[in-house]
Subunit: 258 residues, 2 copies
């Protein structure tokens, strides 16, 4: 296995108070799955240096990469850069490349103190481009520090992704079964156990008075994945259960099981 | 201070793979703020027993309450109840009250094995009602175990909330300032530092080509909060900055600052 793992640390009191709904977790999770990085953990922590340092030190030693979002703006509660520097044990200094980027963005203006603060980067950090608003993120060791504003996070993620190692892509097939989850639980449990490398997940839904189950089969080996899907489908037919393959949620060409 | 703190553990591979967008974090965060519980941390972990046990043991010792969502259905990857039992060190047994609830819901039917699995509750756990689909959650010690399906999580949260201790409610006032965050950073940093018990957060926005900053002032002391807001407003006026109070995001009657 050449799996590459990652964690995401979302930094911000506004997520924990409920004021802001996080939009970065799902975007990053989907992106990681698509490029072949397995997101294994997410933590949302408050804007407190000791909390950020403690969580970052655990996560950066546990996973191949740690992404962070939030806390790199110009205000007093933007303490991500200083916390990352502290966790890694390097100084936080004004980065001349970052200063040049921001001066180029506001030609003829003297950089405000707030903007200068956003140019402070831990020593050894490489800049991550922000084509939306200028002020860069950075990558240092295995830690990738990005903005919390979703549009900015997304362009930063695009900029940094080519620099990351990736593993095999996790492929998936999705079925919608028009029966309660409890009636297919044994079948999917058995298939999950019998087929190493393939995992089956099931997600009940209640919609317009109907009860059903979405079943997702995942694995990196396309042939094995298709084989387990065909066995699953044969079993559903044998039990006269109604189902369909959800082609929108399926990453491969439809199976033919007629 | 009689603050009551909590953490949320979201359990589910489907959130980490990006297949499902979590809708429970923001709901629970908003609910906690409204009732006077301070949500201090969120973790999203995968459907692996050792991960759940490890995270739960840290969180339940660090906060007054730990909420969990997900992993209490009838399938092989629904391992939350067994993991909580293991973390706390009690057995997981078929709960007769839960069996009775589920039998009452499907009169005349023999409970399927899947449904019986959902009636297994750690010894000492008190049931949390699920008026949507029957199968209950539970509370054991300071751990509250709820479903991952948002509608079910929400009715469970309503059921359990009257049993929880709560602290002082955090009040907030929100202002929209039509200037970049960097131009107000020093002012809000100063007010934050000078006024213990009041925290100021700032959130830049980029909308329809306009740049601005949302500023939220929070605290439990209404008089002090209003006083700091008036000082903030007076300073914005002195600097000729455009702003308005965002009445939809503000939990108190509007200030009069004309």
């Amino acid at each position: 296995m050449n799996d590459v793992t990652a964690a995401l640390m979302v930094i911000g009191d506004e997520i924990l108070s409920g004021r802001t709904t996080d939009k970065n977790i799902n975007y990053l999770a989907t992106h990681c799955t698509a490029v072949g990085i397995r997101l294994e953990e997410v933590r949302v922590v408050s804007d407190k240096e000791d909390r950020i340092v403690e969580a970052l030190n655990i996560l950066r030693r546990s996973y191949d990469y740690v992404f962070t979002t939030g806390g790199i703006g110009p205000t007093h509660d933007d303490i991500t850069a200083q916390s990352v520097a502290k966790a890694i044990g390097v100084d936080l200094v004004e980065n001349q490349e970052a200063i040049a980027i921001m001066e180029a963005r506001y030609p003829g203006e003297v950089l405000s103190e707030g903007r200068r603060l956003m140019a402070r980067i831990p020593v050894g950090g490489e800049l991550v481009k922000n084509t939306v608003s200028g002020a860069p993120g950075f990558m240092i060791e295995n830690v990738i520090v990005m903005a919390g504003v979703p549009k900015i996070m997304q362009v930063m993620l695009d900029d940094v992704t080519p620099k990351l190692r990736t593993g095999r892509r996790l492929l998936s097939r999705t079925f919608v079964v028009q029966h309660p989850e409890s009636t297919v639980a044994q079948l999917i449990g058995r298939l999950d156990e019998e087929n190493e490398g393939i995992s089956l997940g099931s997600y009940p839904y209640f919609k317009l008075g109907k009860v059903g189950t979405v079943i997702v089969l995942r694995g990196v080996d396309e042939d094995l994945l298709n084989q387990v899907c065909l066995e699953f489908v044969a079993e559903l037919k044998r039990e006269n259960k109604d189902f369909e393959e959800d082609l929108e949620s399926t990453e491969l060409k439809p199976l033919s099981f007629d």
